[in-house]
Symmetry: C2
Subunit: 337 residues, 2 copies
């Protein structure tokens, strides 16, 4: 059906090795040989089978793109960036959806069957066990949006969630709120824990500010909405730092339903700065996670690992910045004491 190396060799009247070399740069081929081979190849519409060559070279140029975040719109942006960046490097993303997978061993087996050259785990909620399992099986791994620690077991690139919590607290403090709260995602997620930690840490410097906390059952709109509905029944705070943007928007919807206004009655600050947060009818004040930089850096690390597999695990941390929009009162308004 489709032309193979052998067909090209025959048509050009040269050996198969010659053809192979004509297609690998850096190989020892004369200019006229290359020309000749290329002619035959284009006549036959030949292009070498990466998978066959992977057998001898050991490289498939396949990168496992592993995630379980198929419900958070920001991950569409992440996938867009990853696929394009990989394509630019001549690599191909093999997409793996781990939404209802709990056993790392399965994923490892699967990715090994396809002998991927590397794996990038793109998730803020996937347990570190997955990353480790990949690494243990000898595949280069980078965990994007993972938990950064001082002694990473695999490459990690992301933000400092503790610091993000701190920034959120500072932001709320600077705006004079006297009763603030943390509304996190599921308590088990390490990102949730870290953000809370930073938040509380900073607030402990301001003992006069009242602080409370609660946790939504998922990082989703409905969960955020339900949680805020609950809170509104009880004694609600003046401002909330929500686990992420989706959660924030859910909370906003609950607030609006109760005819309360934002930011006058209640302030909200999210985290991520997904595209939707900037939509004018959402207009969410949020802490921006620099996803472009995180993706670029992750790709950089994975390609570095391909060149130098023994490279030691490294953590790359990016700073977050607050993006002011309309869900927090302005900084010059101070609360009446």
């Amino acid at each position: 059906m489709v032309a193979t190396l052998k067909d090209v060799a025959e048509r050009a009247g040269v050996s198969r090795s010659a053809v192979s070399r004509a297609f690998t740069d850096g190989a020892s081929v004369s200019a006229k040989m290359r020309k000749r081979v290329e002619k035959a190849a284009s006549e036959l519409g030949f292009s070498p089978n990466v998978l066959a060559s992977s057998l001898t070279t050991g490289r498939t140029k396949l990168i496992g793109l592993v995630s379980n975040n198929f419900h958070n719109p920001i991950f569409l942006e992440v996938f867009d960036l990853f696929t394009r960046a990989l394509q630019d490097q001549g690599l191909r993303p093999l997409l793996v959806n781990l939404t209802d997978e709990t056993d790392p061993a399965n994923s490892v087996r699967m990715l090994r069957q396809y002998s991927v050259d590397g794996v990038v785990v793109a998730s803020s909620t996937l347990p570190p066990a997955f990353g480790k399992a990949f690494r243990d099986s000898g595949v280069p791994v980078v965990h994007a949006f993972g938990r950064v620690t001082s002694a990473p077991e695999v490459h990690v690139v992301g933000i400092d969630n503790i610091d993000a919590g701190r920034i959120a607290a500072q932001t709320l403090i600077a705006r004079g709120y006297r009763h603030v709260a943390f509304m996190g995602g599921p308590e088990v997620a390490t990102s949730t824990q870290d953000r809370l930690k930073g938040f509380l840490q900073e607030l402990s410097l301001h003992p006069q500010i009242r602080v409370s906390m609660s946790f939504a059952r998922a990082y989703s709109f409905e969960a955020g909405r339900a949680e805020m509905q609950d809170l509104l029944w009880r004694d609600h705070a003046e401002a909330y730092f929500c686990g992420d943007d989706v959660l924030s928007i859910g909370a906003l919807s609950a607030i609006q339903d109760r005819q309360l206004s934002v930011p006058e009655d209640i302030g909200i600050i999210g985290l991520n700065d997904m595209e939707i947060a900037g939509w004018h009818n959402i207009n969410l004040t949020t802490i921006r996670q620099p996803i472009k930089e995180i993706v670029t850096s992750s790709i950089e690390l994975i390609t570095a690992m391909l060149r130098e597999p023994a490279r030691l695990p490294e953590a790359r941390i990016f700073a977050c910045q607050i993006v002011e929009r309309g869900t927090l009162r302005p900084i010059n308004t101070t609360a009446v004491t």
Copy 2:
């Protein structure tokens, strides 16, 4: 590094063929042989290399998942469904981002290098040339969310956009609007043309209703917003059928900015019913595109093609249903004449 078939064969003291057969079901192996091989295999942590076997079997179990819709949130839902459905069939999605690719030949070459077993094009805006190019190169193709015609050149599964336009018109008519409008995506997209066609077709039966139309420069929030801002300066209609949900939300934001209220002053109906449309602070009335059914059906077709490559191209059309939410006035309210 990782165990191969040969290692297992040596360890079990059998031939390589025996090992191979032990791992392919339907092969001629005795029970005790299989047991013996499996023991050795599990001791070595062996699992067969799909890529190597693809050389002889001609199947990689790789499916190219090709799209250029990496900015429409509904496609995250689509990717989620596709990846899971493919995984359930033991197939692997090789993700291809065609956002800034214009030449089908490049994509074809790329996918052939990886000898994918099939390609699913998931896009409502990608020119049909891509689908055809894949088919011409001998790869099974199904175009999901593509334009359905009576004489499809490749398998297509999607909705009848003309009918969707018609439904939109009927919906607006039933609610007594006297001046309705179509606000499409880019005029070149066939989906836009078809939706407009159906819309006008239906309205031509009601000559007393005034109808106008315009086109946003992209299927995006900003484009929808900008277009509606323009429209509001001029003579705006009572209700708009927007090209899709994202466009609709952009339009909504412009309307809200002008202190006009929805659905009292202006009605909006979208198309897609992406998750966000149901968020309570958006609450968009829209025409639901049955993405789950489209995905399932696409996968069905692609696997059918794997079994029977000569199968003739087929079009599968799903009906759309309107999802009532809050951006259109209720059906019993008739306009004052």
